[in-house]
C-alpha cells in the first residue's frame, strides 16, 4: 500500500489534513519537523509528501530539494502547504520541484482533490 506523509509542526493542521485525506487506499503518516520528515521519507519512500514550508529543523524547501536530488525518489509527489503568502516563497517552491502548493487557510475539499490528482498521475 502506498504511503502519504504529512510534515507540519502545528498539530491542529496535521489533524485537519489527516482527517481530510483519510482513505483506505493509502497509509497516512505524520512528522512534526523537517528532520523527522526527511528520515521517514528515506525509510518509507512515500508516494506523496504534504510539506509545510515553515518548520523547525529542516524547513520544507530543504526537504523538497533533498527529495528532488535523490535518484530513488523520482516519482515522489510533493504538495507544499504554506502560510507564507508571499510570491517569493511559492516561486522558490515551484523552482525546487513542487507539484502543487496550497496556502493556509485552505479548503479541505480542495486539498483532497489535489491529493487524488497527485496520486493518479
Amino acid at each position: 500500500m502506498r504511503t502519504v506523509l504529512i510534515a507540519d509542526d502545528e498539530s491542529s493542521i496535521r489533524l485537519l489534513v489527516h482527517a481530510t485525506i483519510e482513505s483506505d487506499d493509502y497509509t497516512v503518516v505524520e512528522a512534526a519537523d523537517g528532520t523527522a520528515a526527511w528520515e521517514m521519507i528515506q525509510k518509507l519512500k512515500p508516494a506523496l509528501v504534504l510539506l509545510d514550508i515553515h518548520m523547525p529543523g529542516r524547513n520544507g524547501l530543504d526537504v523538497l530539494r533533498l527529495i528532488r536530488a535523490d535518484a530513488g525518489m523520482v516519482g515522489t509527489r510533493v504538495i507544499l502547504l504554506t502560510s507564507k503568502a508571499q510570491e517569493s516563497d511559492i516561486e522558490a517552491g515551484l523552482i525546487a520541484g513542487a507539484d502543487f502548493y496550497l496556502t493556509k487557510p485552505f479548503s479541505p475539499l480542495d486539498l483532497l482533490t489535489r491529493v487524488d490528482e497527485a496520486l493518479l498521475r
Partner: protein, 860 residues
C-alpha cells in the same frame, strides 16, 4: 612666591598641662636623696643595735669562760690539797715533830703565785713550798678551825706572809691534826684573765664576792682595787647587764657569771666605744656606697636631661617659631636619636605643608583666573546666556545680553523658572522632552521664547550640564534663529520626517506580513474543520474533537489579535498608563494565584516584609507578571520549580522570575524582546506562541521608567527575567482623599474632580495597597469601589473600621444595583453615600466628599 618667604611667627607659650620633664627629674633627685638618707639612718641604727648586742654577748661569754676557768683552777687546787691530805704521810709528818717534808706549788693559768703548805691546828706551818715561816702565822685565820675538820674553799683573806689578798683552799689531815692548805694570791688573777681571755678586745675582768662587797680581782690596776668594796656602784644595784664608765675613762658593757663552788662572781666588761666605733666604721662604708650610688644617678639624670629634655625644649622653640631655622640644627649634636628623628620628621612635615600651601595658592590663583575668565565670557557674551537649576528649573544667573534681549530685569529673571519664558502651549512639549534624561551636552530647537513685551522669538538652545554652587545646573546659550537657519532647519525636519515615515512604513509592512503569517495557521484550522464538518458525515467523537480544536485555535487567534493591538497601542504611545502607588507583593501574589496552571509546577514566592510601594499601572503590571509567569511555565516542560521574588535596589523595586527550564541560547538573548521572535529548537516546537509577549512586557516596563533584562546560564539551565519599577515617592503625604478603585479611567476622572474642589487625592488600585497607605496616614475621606481585584471593598471597609474607627468619610461606588441587605450593612459600616457608576458619578462623588468634609469641619 609670597608663601615661601613667610616666617613662622613666634607664638605665646601655650598653657601646658602636666609637669615638665625638668620637674619630674627634680622630683626624682629629691626622692633619690630622701631614700639615701633614710637608708643611711636605718643602717646606722641597725649597726649600733647590732654592735651593742654583740658587745653584750661578748661580755657574757667572756664572764662565763672566766668563771669556768677560775672554778677549774680552784677545783684543781682542791684536788691537790685533798690528795696531799689523804696521804698517810701527811698525818705522820704532822704528828712527828722531827719529820721533814717538801711541797711544790704548781701555778695555774690564773693563779700564778701561791704556796702549798701543811699547817698545824695551832696555826704553825710544818711544811711549805715557799720559805717556811716561823710561829703560828695562821693562828688568827678564821678558816683554820674549820679546815681541820673538813675541806674548805675559803674566800679571801690577807696572807700574813705576803700581806696580799689571797684565796685559801684547805683539806683536813687526820683528826684535828692540821690541814693541807693552798694559798694563792688574787692580785695576778685580774691581769691573767685579761691576758688569757681579753685578747685585743680591751675587756675588763672584775671578780667580786657574791655580795659584791669586796673586789677579789681586777684586770685594771689590781693593786689598787683588790680588796676594796663595790657597795653603791651599779654592780651592786643591777641584776642584769651593767653599763658603766670605768676608771680608765672607758665605758663598758658588763656581763656576769657566778663561779661554781665559790662565793665569787665574775664580771667581764666589753669596751662599748670600741664596738660602737666598729659599727660606725661599717655605717660609714655603707654611707660611702650610698653616696656613690646617688652620685651615679645624678650624673645619669643630668645626661638624660641634657640629651632629651633640653633638645625637646629647643625643638619646641623651633616649632613655636620663636627660634628660626630648621629643627634638626637646633637639636643636632645634643639630642638622642629619637629626638633627632622627631626633628627630622617635623622638618619634613613643615616642608610638605609649605609645598601644599604653595600648591593650593597656585590652584586658588588659577581658579580665580578661570572664574574671572568665565565671568568675562558669560557677562560680556553678545548672545543671551543663563544658568538654571535642573531640579527646580529656576534661573540661577543670566548675562547682560539676555537682559537686553528679553527685556526682563535680572531680579525678574531670578524670580522665574525657564517654563515662564515659554508660551503656555509649548510647556507640555518642553516638559516631556525635559523628563527624558538630557545628555550632558545637547542642542535643541527651534523653541519659542517669550519676551517681556509679549512678543516671542525663535531660538536654538545649546545647553551643558554644570555644577553651580550647590546646584545641579545647566548652562544655556540661546541663539536667535536667522532666516537661512530657519529654512535649513525646516528642510532637515521634513527630510527627517520623510525618512522616519519610510522606516515606519517598512516596519509596518514587515509587521503586516508577520501578523498575516501568524494568523493563517489558526485560521486554516478554523476554516478547514468548519468546512469538513459541514461537508462530511462525522461520528460524534470526531465532531467533538474537531470542535475542541476549533475553540482552541479561535482563542489562540483572539489572544494573538489582542497582543498585537496592545503592542500597537503601546508602541504608538496610545496606551494610557495610569500610575498609582501599589504594593508589588500583592500584585505578585495575585498573579501567582491567577496564573496557576494544571501542570503542577510549583511557584515559590520570595517577598521581603519591608517592600516599599511602587508607582505602577496595576493592570499593565499584572500583564507583565502574567506574561513572565506563563513563559516560565511554558518553557519548563520538564517541570522544576519557578521562583518569583522582589527586592529593593537603588530607588527601584526589582522583580525576578526564575525558572529551571529550557534556558536561552546566548545568541538569542539580544533578539528575545523583538516582535514575533521565537527561539527555534526541537525541544520548543511543541510550545505555542506568537512571540509578542516579551515585546509587550518590555514596552510596559519601559513605560514605567524601568528596565528588563534576561540571563540564562545556557540551554537547559533555566532562565531568569528581572525587571525594575520605580518606588512610589512619598505617597499619601498630601492626600485628603484616598481613592480605592481598580478602574484607572474612573480614578483619573475622580482625581480631576477632587482637584477642582481643592482636594488632593491618592489613588490605590487595590485594597491591599490602600491598607499600606492607610498604615502611614489615615485620609480624611475614602472613595471605595466594591468590586476589587483581590480583597473586596466591603471586607476592606470592615477591616478599616476595626483598625481606624469611624472618623473617615466614606463614599462607596459600585457597578451593579445593590440588594437592600447589602445597602443596610454598608450603612451600618458608616458609609456616607452609595453611588452607581455611570455618567456624572465622579463629579457627584467629589461633591459629596467635599460637602461632608466641610460639614465635618463645621461640626468639630
Amino acid at each position: 612666591m609670597e608663601m615661601q618667604r613667610r616666617e613662622r611667627a613666634p607664638k605665646a607659650t601655650p598653657e601646658r598641662r602636666g609637669w615638665s620633664l625638668r620637674n619630674y627629674m627634680a622630683l626624682f633627685i629629691v626622692a633619690l636623696l630622701g631614700v639615701a638618707f633614710g637608708a643611711e639612718v636605718a643602717f646606722r641604727g641597725m649597726a649600733e643595735a647590732d654592735a651593742r648586742q654583740t658587745a653584750e654577748a661578748d661580755a657574757n661569754f667572756s664572764a662565763r669562760v672566766a668563771a669556768a676557768e677560775i672554778a677549774n683552777e680552784l677545783a684543781l687546787l682542791e684536788r691537790t690539797t685533798a690528795s696531799v691530805a689523804a696521804n698517810p704521810q701527811a698525818a705522820v709528818v704532822l704528828s712527828t715533830p722531827k719529820a721533814s717534808c717538801t711541797l711544790t706549788f704548781a701555778g695555774g693559768i690564773l693563779f700564778t703565785a701561791g704556796r702549798l703548805e701543811i699547817v698545824r691546828s695551832d696555826g704553825t706551818v710544818k711544811c711549805s713550798s715557799g720559805p717556811l715561816p716561823s710561829g703560828a702565822v695562821y693562828a688568827t685565820a678564821d678558816w683554820l678551825p674549820i679546815a681541820v675538820h673538813r675541806p674548805v674553799i675559803a674566800a679571801h683573806f690577807t696572807d700574813p706572809i705576803t700581806q696580799q689578798l689571797s684565796a685559801v683552799v684547805a683539806a683536813p689531815v687526820g683528826s684535828e691534826l692540821g690541814a693541807v692548805v693552798g694559798i694563792v694570791a688574787l692580785s695576778p688573777v685580774g691581769p691573767n684573765l685579761l691576758t688569757t681571755f681579753g685578747g685585743a678586745r680591751n675587756l675588763e675582768f672584775l671578780v667580786t664576792t657574791s655580795d659584791t662587797s669586796t673586789i677579789v680581782a681586777r684586770s685594771i690596776q689590781p693593786a689598787r682595787w683588790v680588796g676594796t668594796g663595790l657597795a653603791g656602784t651599779s654592780f651592786a644595784s643591777s641584776a642584769g647587764p651593767v653599763e658603766r664608765r670605768g676608771i680608765d675613762g672607758t665605758t663598758r658593757l658588763y656581763g656576769r657569771s657566778v663561779i661554781a663552788a665559790t662565793p665569787w662572781t665574775v664580771y667581764a666588761g666589753a669596751d662599748k666605744a670600741a664596738t660602737l666605733s666598729a659599727a660606725d666604721q661599717f655605717s660609714n662604708r655603707t654611707l660611702a656606697i650610698i653616696l656613690a650610688g646617688v652620685g651615679v644617678m645624678l650624673v645619669m639624670v643630668f645626661v638624660v636631661y641634657q640629651r632629651v629634655s633640653e633638645p625637646v625644649r629647643r625643638l619646641s622653640l623651633v616649632m613655636r617659631g620663636s627660634t628660626p631655622g630648621p629643627a634638626v640644627n637646633a637639636v643636632a649634636g645634643h639630642g638622642a636619636a629619637e629626638v633627632t628623628g622627631l626633628a627630622e620628621d617635623f622638618d619634613e612635615l613643615m616642608a610638605s605643608i609649605n609645598r601644599e600651601l604653595a600648591d593650593r595658592l597656585t590652584r586658588e590663583h588659577a581658579a580665580t583666573v578661570s572664574e574671572r575668565n568665565y565671568r568675562t565670557l558669560f557677562e560680556g557674551h553678545p548672545q543671551p546666556m543663563w544658568l538654571y537649576d535642573v531640579d527646580t528649573l529656576a534661573f540661577l544667573n543670566v548675562n547682560d545680553a539676555a537682559i537686553a534681549e528679553y527685556g526682563y530685569t535680572r531680579d525678574e529673571f531670578l524670580a522665574m523658572t525657564i517654563k515662564d519664558i515659554r508660551p503656555p502651549e509649548d510647556v507640555p512639549k518642553f516638559l516631556e522632552l525635559y523628563s527624558t534624561k538630557s545628555p550632558s551636552f545637547d542642542r535643541t530647537g527651534p523653541w519659542r521664547h517669550l519676551l517681556k513685551d509679549g512678543s516671542s522669538v525663535q531660538v536654538l538652545v545649546t545647553s551643558h550640564e554644570v555644577t553651580f554652587g550647590e546646584h545641579n545646573a545647566r548652562f544655556v546659550l540661546a541663539e536667535n534663529l536667522t532666516e537661512s537657519q530657519r529654512l535649513e532647519l525646516e528642510l532637515h525636519q521634513s527630510q527627517a520626517r520623510a525618512q522616519s515615515s519610510a522606516e515606519l512604513s517598512r516596519a509596518k509592512d514587515e509587521m503586516v506580513s508577520m501578523v498575516s503569517h501568524e494568523m493563517r495557521t489558526p485560521l486554516a484550522s478554523l476554516v478547514g474543520f468548519a468546512e469538513l464538518m459541514s461537508t462530511r458525515e462525522l461520528t460524534p467523537e470526531q465532531r467533538k474533537e474537531y470542535l475542541g480544536v476549533m475553540v482552541q485555535e479561535g482563542r489562540r487567534l483572539t489572544s494573538l489579535i489582542n497582543d498585537f493591538l496592545d503592542l500597537q497601542r503601546i508602541e504608538g504611545g496610545h496606551m494610557q498608563m495610569r500610575f498609582a502607588p501599589a504594593d508589588m507583593g500583592t500584585l505578585i501574589v495575585r498573579a501567582v494565584r491567577q496564573g496557576k496552571g494544571d501542570d503542577h509546577i510549583p511557584i515559590e514566592t520570595r517577598l521581603p516584609d519591608d517592600l516599599p510601594l511602587v508607582r505602577v499601572d496595576s493592570g499593565a503590571m499584572a500583564r507583565v507578571l502574567a506574561n513572565l509567569l506563563s513563559n516560565a511555565r511554558k518553557y519548563s516542560p520538564g517541570g522544576g520549580s519557578i521562583i518569583i521574588g522582589a527586592a529593593v535596589d537603588a530607588g527601584m523595586v526589582e522583580v525576578y522570575v526564575q525558572d529551571h527550564g529550557l534556558g536561552i541560547p546566548p545568541d538569542a538573548i539580544s533578539r528575545l524582546f523583538g516582535k514575533f521572535y521565537r527561539v527555534e529548537s526541537p525541544d520548543r516546537q511543541m510550545i505555542q506562541g506568537a512571540g509578542l509577549g516579551l515585546a509587550i512586557t518590555k514596552n510596559i516596563v519601559e513605560g514605567h521608567g524601568g528596565k528588563i533584562t534576561v540571563t540564562s546560564p545556557g540551554e537547559g539551565k533555566g532562565t531568569t527575567f528581572r525587571f525594575t519599577v520605580p518606588v512610589a515617592r512619598q505617597p499619601a503625604q498630601s492626600g485628603d482623599v484616598l481613592i480605592v478603585e481598580d478602574d484607572g479611567g474612573f480614578a483619573h476622572l475622580l482625581e480631576a474632580e477632587l482637584t477642582a474642589k481643592g482636594l488632593s487625592s491618592v489613588w490605590a488600585a487595590d485594597a491591599e495597597t490602600a491598607e499600606h497607605l492607610m498604615a502611614r496616614k489615615v485620609p480624611r475621606a475614602l472613595v471605595l469601589d466594591l468590586l476589587l481585584p483581590g480583597l473586596q471593598g466591603d471586607a476592606f471597609l470592615t477591616r478599616m473600621r476595626a483598625n481606624h474607627g469611624l472618623a473617615t468619610v466614606v463614599v462607596v461606588v459600585t457597578l451593579k444595583d445593590l440588594e437592600p441587605s447589602e445597602s443596610l450593612s454598608l450603612q451600618k459600616a458608616g458609609v456616607t453615600a452609595v453611588l452607581r457608576k455611570g455618567p456624572g458619578a465622579a463629579e457627584t462623588a467629589a461633591s459629596i466628599v467635599a460637602k461632608s468634609l466641610v460639614a465635618e469641619l463645621v461640626a468639630s
